[in-house]
């Protein structure tokens, strides 16, 4: 008996589905598109994704709209037993909670296929009951694209602020932050492979900032579908096991006593601990196939000469930080920049190694936090015990612009603030 439940190979024959796939791209092309478009294109290129569930919410709506546009234009229509059918479908549900529930059922039934949706802000909050269960479920074939948007509706704001992502760190998903269209596209291709690895089996939540990235168009390279399939199929097992069920038969949402509950969590944690090594290995494979680096735990810039002052940031605004630091280094200032990509599990040890020679670290938080900032807390924890001063900033809340003046100000403040202090910075002013 399979400890993970019965498998019915004769019922679920994947080969016909793979053959039905109509490629979107047959060769590499350079296209200009926004972030939701880049994510939608990647999603549509998977033969393993026959159905997309969704409920619209700004700023993620365009992902769903674009998927629907392609599908409803008949882009994936094939002939089956003399009938014309679409090999891909959109399932529009009543609300986000229903979307997440739908993903559970679909993903549990077909563990080798990839089930995707996109949501933002309170949409993700509305899914919470189910996303928390999904984190532990072992259904690594669920991909939830989180288009960051401020979660607070007092007042309502539709722009990019990662407070939704931070609020869902404890859902137990793999969370990866993207900036720029190429990262969004590449991450979408690579991440399901990590989630579906038998050592990991954790659903994945790739994310990018609303408006700042979701609505910003840029040129990027799209890859031929065949190459994407080659990459994914080489790493996704043909038969995926589902861990964590007591008696063996598949069921979702068993009721257990504390004796078992803790055991499940222990297993879940062990799998989470595998993410970094599996991610690194798949990134290597990604680079071999596509010639571009795969997902990294964090990007490090100007860190070669072990600069004494380092900014740690996240998301698209890091681009401006890069430019400001590049200019100031030309004037002789030794500054470094670290841009976080892997949010959960947080790459603490690697970060500690990268930052160990720094004297002062300034961590830039884009989401409201009652203490020093989520990211500041994570980075402080990573470097704890080392003789490093960690200071924090709040900037770009609700997707507010972080101007060159603001970055300059934050760099200037690095040598002024006391350890543990944090400041709000906007338009170059300290609030």
């Amino acid at each position: 008996m399979n400890p993970y439940g019965s498998i019915f190979p004769e019922v679920l024959d994947l080969e016909p589905l793979r053959k039905k796939h109509i490629p979107l791209y047959r060769r590499q092309e350079r296209i200009q598109m926004d972030g939701n478009g880049a994510a939608a294109i990647a999603s549509l290129q998977f033969w393993r994704a026959p159905i997309y569930a969704g409920f619209p919410i700004t700023p993620s709506t365009k992902w769903l709209e674009m998927i629907s546009t392609y599908i409803n234009a008949g882009r994936f229509v094939v002939e089956e037993n003399g009938r014309k059918v679409s090999a891909k479908r959109v399932k529009l549900l009543e609300a986000e909670h229903a979307v997440a529930d739908y993903l559970v059922g679909a993903a549990a039934a077909c563990r080798e296929l990839i089930f995707m949706t996109a949501t933002s802000s309170v949409g993700l909050d509305h899914m919470t009951e189910t996303t928390r269960s999904l984190g532990a479920s072992g259904l690594g074939n669920v991909v939830l694209i989180n288009v960051y948007r401020a979660t607070a509706n007092y007042p309502l704001c539709i722009e990019g602020d990662p407070s939704d992502a931070f609020a869902h760190r404890d859902d137990g998903w793999i969370q990866v932050v993207c900036r720029g269209k190429q990262q969004i596209y590449d991450t979408l291709i690579q991440l399901p492979v990590v989630g579906m690895d038998p050592r990991v089996l954790i659903p994945t939540m790739p994310g990018y900032y609303g408006i700042k990235d979701s609505h910003r168009s840029e040129p990027f390279f799209v890859e031929p579908d065949s190459k994407i399939h080659e990459f994914q199929d080489s790493l996704i097992p043909w038969r995926c096991p589902l861990p964590g069920l007591i008696v063996g038969e598949t069921a979702m949402g068993n009721c257990v006593t504390s004796a078992h509950f803790q055991g499940f969590k222990w297993e879940q944690k062990k799998r989470m601990d595998q993410v970094l090594s599996v991610l690194t290995a798949s990134s290597k494979k990604f680079e071999e196939v596509f010639g571009r680096p795969g997902i990294v735990p964090f990007e490090a810039y100007f860190m070669e000469d072990r600069p004494p002052r380092v900014l740690v940031a996240m998301g698209p605004d890091a681009g401006t930080a890069y430019e400001v630091i590049r200019r100031r280094r030309k004037e002789g200032e030794r500054l470094g920049l670290v841009v976080v990509r892997l949010l959960t599990p947080f790459p603490s040890s690697l970060l500690r190694e990268a930052l160990k020679s720094a004297g002062v670290i300034g961590v830039v938080n884009n989401a409201f936090h009652s203490e020093r900032g989520h990211l500041t807390a994570l980075v402080s924890e990573a470097v704890s015990g080392l003789p490093i001063q960690t200071t924090g900033f709040f900037a770009g809340l609700g997707g507010a612009d972080i101007s060159v003046r603001s970055w300059e100000k934050m760099i200037d403040l690095l040598s002024v603030l006391k350890p543990g202090e944090s400041r709000f910075v906007h338009e170059g002013e300290v609030l």
Binding site: D34, P155, R216, S217, E218, T320, E429
Partner: protein, 319 residues
């Protein structure tokens, strides 16, 4: 013939420095689409990298919106908004009266949708540099049966910043139409409008007066922000949602025969709570009007809800 400022900008681009562009207008003016098409045309030509992104709120049609574009030869790292653009566009004249669309530009390239000639527009908006105007509303009405200036402004932008050929702009416009699944007839009408608009762009080099400076808006801080949001923000009279309404239209309530039954449908359907009423012995309440000046965004909920059609949207400015 390229004027000197244009030449300077192209030379600057070739040297590897980025070129920044900013556009202002009303939601519904087609601003975002214009930038998308121009960005695609320039980007896919292959010489330059282009980023283009909008800035808008959850505003209805008629609210002021902004768009940005950054063009560069190498990879573009800078992601912050554009404060001092090399090229500033104005899609809606009304927006130009409400905000300074040229802020941060003491001398630059300006592209405006207006019936004025470039020299007159420069005078009106105090612009110094190279000014391009096109009568976009009229051309939109003529070719697209709707006073939308996006295609004409695209033509004027191409004249102002000829980074790619007309054919490449036409191609990108066509592709954008296909992406939006527009009917072939509409795609053709867009193309006709673009080609016709190219012939109607007026331009002028304007030296201007010393007093015509456009300083950056200064950040006044957040002092005095109310606690919470909705109600306090409302009583502070900031964030006036009436600004989101279609320009030149307003809501009126007329009940000369005293027909209002007091059914209250308008009151419960109004998302802004601006329906005015008085107690009435027989009917419970009697609606007397709507306080449209601050918060009516013309969402038409009351018009739809009233069984007696006592609300109406009419031409006319707010008081």
């Amino acid at each position: 013939m390229m004027a000197s400022l244009q030449k300077e900008l192209v030379a600057q681009l070739k040297k590897g420095e980025a070129l920044d562009l900013r556009a202002d207008g009303k939601a519904g003016s087609g601003l975002v689409m214009t930038l998308q098409v121009f960005a695609e045309a320039v980007s896919l030509e292959g010489t330059y990298q282009v980023q283009e992104w909008p800035f808008f709120s959850s505003a209805r049609k008629g609210a002021n919106v902004r768009g940005f574009m950054r063009v560069g030869k190498g990879p573009l790292f800078m992601t912050c908004q554009v404060e001092s653009p090399h090229v500033a566009l104005l899609f809606t004249e009304k927006t130009g009266e409400e905000i300074d669309f040229a802020s941060g530009v003491s001398k630059g390239i300006f592209v405006l949708n207006t019936a004025y000639h470039a020299i007159e527009a420069a005078q009106k908006f105090r612009l110094r540099g190279e000014v391009f105007t096109v009568s976009g509303d009229r051309l939109g009405q003529e070719y697209l049966h709707h006073p939308i200036p996006n295609i004409s402004v695209l033509a004027a932008l191409h004249k102002a910043l000829p980074l790619v050929s007309v054919q490449q702009v036409v191609q990108a416009l066509k592709h954008n139409g296909e992406k939006r699944r527009l009917p072939l007839k509409a795609i053709q009408a867009n193309q006709d409008c673009l080609l016709a608009s190219l012939k109607e762009v007026s331009s002028a080099v304007v030296q201007g007066e010393e007093a015509w400076e456009h300083p950056l808006p200064s950040f006044a801080g957040y002092e005095g922000y109310p606690i919470g949001a909705q109600s306090a923000l409302r009583s502070s009279l900031q964030n006036l949602t009436a600004n989101y309404a279609r320009t030149g239209r307003r809501l009126v309530f007329q009940d000369p025969q005293d027909r209002c039954t007091g059914c209250s449908l308008c009151i419960v359907n109004c998302p802004e709570g601006i329906i005015q009423f008085v107690p009435d012995e027989k009917r419970g309440i009697r609606v007397t009007g709507a306080d449209v000046n601050h918060f009516c965004k013309l969402c038409r909920e009351c018009i739809e809800a009233c069984p007696l059609d006592l609300f109406e949207e009419v031409e006319g400015a707010l008081v």
